[in-house]
Amino acid sequence: MKSAVVLLPGLNRDRDMIAALTKISGKAPVTVWQTDTEIPEVDLIAIPGGFSFGDYLRCGAIAARMPVLRAVAEKAAKGVQVVGVCNGFQILVEAGLLPGALMRNTSLKFVCREVKLEIANANTAFTRNYSAGQVIRCPVAHHDGNYFADPDTLKRIEGEGQVVFRYAEGTNPNGSVNDIAGIINDKGNVLGLMPHPENLIEAAHGGEDGRALFESALGLSKAA
């Protein structure tokens, strides 16, 4: 399975994402730069975390208007899987590829810690190697992860199973409504989440709870 990683100035988790995809798929992802207008044929496009364009205006706002994001939108419309992590999630909502918005944490503080995540929907291309209701560990590191959507949108995404990850066991680090940590689009091929599964994929990370997300998306069966 082939993958691509989107590079933008100010991202800082791109190497982690490239390392995770390389280790899990056995093949290095291609990288695409912000000004690229075409993305090669791949099965999965990943937008990593960081602080694209210094978080100027709003987190992800400038990145979402770059040519490469138009290319991502075209691929997403054709059914290619897209995952945005942290700033990548913020970019996807700013680009209108996912509903809602990510606002300043209610604590007003940057949070860098481990949280518990409940798999709220295991019936997606990104979570099929998890089981519904399973609780996993995952690191978070962000200042603006407080998910917000208007009541109608919230009702719709909750009703349609588009909430894929929820902060569990009282570990909501940012005040996110309904403890939402990650959502998927209505077509089921664009996922955004604030936590960093790419930073928990092997023993050297202290666990591999995030690995199944990439194995699911890459069409690999669960590691024994």
Binding site: L57, R58, A61, R65, V93, E94, P99, G100, A101, M103, R104, N105, T106, S107, L108, N146, F148, A149, D150, G175
Partner: protein, 82 residues
């Protein structure tokens, strides 16, 4: 070349939690300013546009708000020519 000056104001919609506004509100209270009911934080953009066509400038500014300056999921905007 004539220049049209405009001020764009972006504010959070009603019902959207504003933790920064809340923190400012508490800080004002701490400074002894009693009776501050609520503070909402927003953004102001002063934009200069070349040309003299005010109607076009206003239409462009509204489009700029829709496309970039405001996130209409959570924010309202207003455009004033000055």
């Amino acid at each position: 070349m004539p220049v049209i000056k405009a001020r764009v104001t972006v504010t959070l919609k009603n019902g959207v939690l504003d933790p920064q506004g809340k923190a400012i509100e508490h800080a004002l209270d701490g400074l002894g300013f009693g009776g501050v009911g609520s503070v909402r934080q927003g953004k102001v953009f002063d934009v200069e546009i070349e040309g003299a066509d005010k109607a076009k400038a206003e239409a462009d500014l509204n489009a700029m708000c829709e496309k970039l300056l405001a996130n209409t999921v959570i924010e309202n905007y207003s455009v004033t020519l000055i």
